[in-house]
């Protein structure tokens, strides 16, 4: 993949309790796919970049199966709302609110994320 020059220097950052945490170069995020990041406290975050370049960050754990795999799911949009489908049993989660779209009693944590 060739990288668009203006994005090479940008970093993906997550808002944590004690400020912005730098994860990786923006170029590591393929539009339409995710990556996982390890946080200082040992928890895991799934980061995504959609087609329009917007970034999302949610907990990486699949709350149904327990495995830390949400970063490996396919993302999509439904009525303009972005979601990720778990690669395990395909439940979908709203990337902005963390709400599970297939089971209203379940939701996952979301994080503030930016490229700077």
């Amino acid at each position: 993949m060739t990288l668009a020059p203006e994005t090479t220097d940008l970093k993906v950052q997550l808002q944590l309790a004690d400020g912005w945490f730098t994860v990786c170069d923006l170029s590591r995020l393929l539009p339409g796919r995710g990556v996982a990041a390890l946080l200082p406290d040992g928890s895991q975050v799934a980061l995504f970049r959609d087609r329009a370049g917007k970034l999302y960050a949610v907990d990486n754990r699949d709350p149904f199966g327990g495995a830390a795999v949400l970063s490996r799911g396919l993302i999509g949009s439904q009525q303009g709302r972005p979601f990720v489908a778990s690669p395990l049993l395909k439940q979908r989660f709203d990337l902005e609110s963390g709400q599970c779209l297939d089971d209203e009693t379940v939701s996952i944590a979301t994080y503030e994320v930016r490229a700077s």
Binding site: V23, A37, L38, G66, A67, V69, G76
Partner: protein
Amino acid sequence: MTATLGATPTIVLVGHGMVGQRFLEALAERGMTATHRVVVLCEEPRPAYDRVALTSYFSGKTPEDLSMTDMAFIEEHGIELYVGDPAETVDREAKRVTARSGQVFEYDTLVLATGSYPFVPPVPNKDAEGCFVYRTIEDLLAIEEYAKTRTTGAVVGGGLLGLEAAGALKGLGLTSHIVEFAPRLMPVQVDEGGGAALLRTIEEMGLSVHTGVGTQEIVVDSEGAVTGMKLSDGSELATDLVVFSAGVRPRDQLARDCGLTVGERGGITVDDQCRTVADPHVFAIGECALASDGRVYGLVAPGYEQAETAAATIAADETEQLSFTGADLSTKLKLLGVDVASFGDAHGTAEDCLDVVYSDSRSGLYKKLVIGRDGTLLGGILVGDAEAYGTLKAFTGSVPPVSPESLVLPAGAGESVQLGPTALPDDAIICSCNNVRKGTIRGAVTEHNCTTVPEVKKCTKAGTTCGSCVKVLGQLVTAELEASGVEVDKGLCGCFSQTREELYEIVLALRINTYQDLLDRYGRDGARGGDGCEICKPAVGSIIASLAPTIGADGYVLDGEQATLQDTNDHFLANLQKNGSYSVVPRIPGGEITPEGLIVIGEIARDFGLYTKITGGQRIDMFGARVEQLPLIWTRLVDAGFESGHAYGKSLRTVKSCVGQTWCRYGVQDSVRMAIDLELRYRGLRSPHKLKSAVSGCARECAEAQSKDFGIIATAAGWNLYVGGNGGATPRHADLLAQDLTDTELIKLIDRFLMFYIRTADRLERTSTWLERIPGGLDHVRDVVVEDSLGICEELESLMTDHVAHYADEWATTINDPEKLARFVSFVNAPDTPDPVVGFVPERDQIKPDLPLLSIGMRPAEDVLEGSAQR
């Protein structure tokens, strides 16, 4: 204890079989359970279950699945059900029934629904160890247990049930024989021509049929266990197990003992209202009853009608007067993968009727319609292809709107028409088991707002018994929905209104080679410019991959945009396991592997600590690889000459082989060589669903080719090609597409078949369901790929040639591409740190996922891993 006659009148039902249960439902529907005490004596150790579907126990149904008795219903209606407590005597004078437990019940009305018992011919040693009948769940449990340590079984009787039983024995792994006294199989239902076609099909399935001979004696060993049977032609048949299926007899002993009238050949004599002729307080329904037309009915549908009649009579509802004066004997064989059906006056006994016959004994086809002088369809027999059964049965008794010939001719033979069920009149009976008419089914959609087949089944009961009407039911529901303006959206998903087939045509015709281009130009209004969804992305990714060389896309699924379309397994070129680890399956074409190959796999598995297992696809699966280990493992595999096995892709999985001619004394062709050739030819081919194949070296079929999407069986003259087989959840035997092909002819035909399937199938539609769905079915596919009726064969072949020429191993490509390799890490910001949730614990000298690690801070474990892996 004596239950005294109180203020509420009492109905005692003896026998809780299928008909007994229906009788209870009919009473409840008429409000009778509220005004009456209802007592049920049930002999079997379990309440009523679906005897018609008994054999499905062997295909995985549990006794609980077969149950027809909803305990909530019994409780709600205050029914007293005594399980395992048969009635022993009836005192009609005192109106009293005594049960085996000693309980005594006084009745106002007694209903006998005691069913039948299997007839066992009085041959010597008929009760020896290893002799069985086929009637109850307990019979099946006993047969299953006994068969575990045996190899051969024989069924006495080649009727409908005998064939079912023989198929079940075969399914239990026994070499199976059928001994039938009559000169043909299913003598009651089919005529000579049908019998011949049926014989051919049954024998091809590997069952041995002995017609025209009787069983004279069961041969036993010194311990008294069956070892064989002596036949009337002087021969002896070695067998470890015998199942008698020589007809049934009404269970009328209880009735005889209390002086009720029974027929000469058995059956409790009743009138049009199912009341016994000897006693107005006693009724008999179901298989134990001799109806007023002088017949005992051995089918469930007439029994249900009798149950309704008796209930209505007992309820004495002035507005509803039912009577039972006779019924239809239409039947369809449910098992064995053979299509046999007969309906109406199948043997043409009416005066002046004529037969319309189509027969092709080579392919085991026989179809006969009996037509009255005025053109009325009176009945018929279908062997080999009973597709039209549901529609024809419903037309019986009326003049069909098209010529009878066109109804039996095969598609493509000029005249044939597909007579849809929409042409049926509203009063045509669609489900004969439950007596449901077309009008009722339409009403379920239009008045009761049912929108799916399961809803309609629940609402009308249609299709809930033998299941032979479900197909027509589905067609009617769809037609009705469409007619009432409910748009049946056939689009692939929320993003595309086109079907997969339409998208394929667009991609191919316009050479569209990116998903975004397709979405932005052909997506639904709201979806254009968006991110798509998890359904259309992999589906379109697969179309682009199968057409890659032709439309100018890169065939490598991790390239550019394609990487973002793949399901997680394709994206990591490995199968995701429940704890986030992956499995690794190298290709082992045809299942043939050298000792060196085995050693390499063994060493790699040992070095990386992987769990190893031989798969059902004749190869080796290594489980428990962490995502960052995948490139390291594959580098070693590729170095040793292995390549991706595509266990993760909707693409060719394995071509299984048997050892074949080279070693096997029966083999007639080199099945291993052919399996390897085919696996190498079609490897990497992306398709709507996975593709599986197998090649057997002779008709013994050790490679199970008939359960594959395309299966090949060697003949002395070449190869037979079977298509549309399936194991898995809904098994289907493959259909013979063409016979005695040369190597070149075989490959050409498979090329065409696969490309035609890839072009026209829906997403996640195996060849089996595709073949069942597409209009014209197998005949249409044969027309297209053998006769080239659409003139597309050349294109299909050239698409396959392109695929074969451009194949490259995905793993070899990946390990040589540093940018792609960078994706194989657990954490983008800590590439050397493994995912801490992925852990293992020991089991039987290997590893297994450490599940407690997954559930830390999680919901309770039983909620986990439910639901479907597919959407």
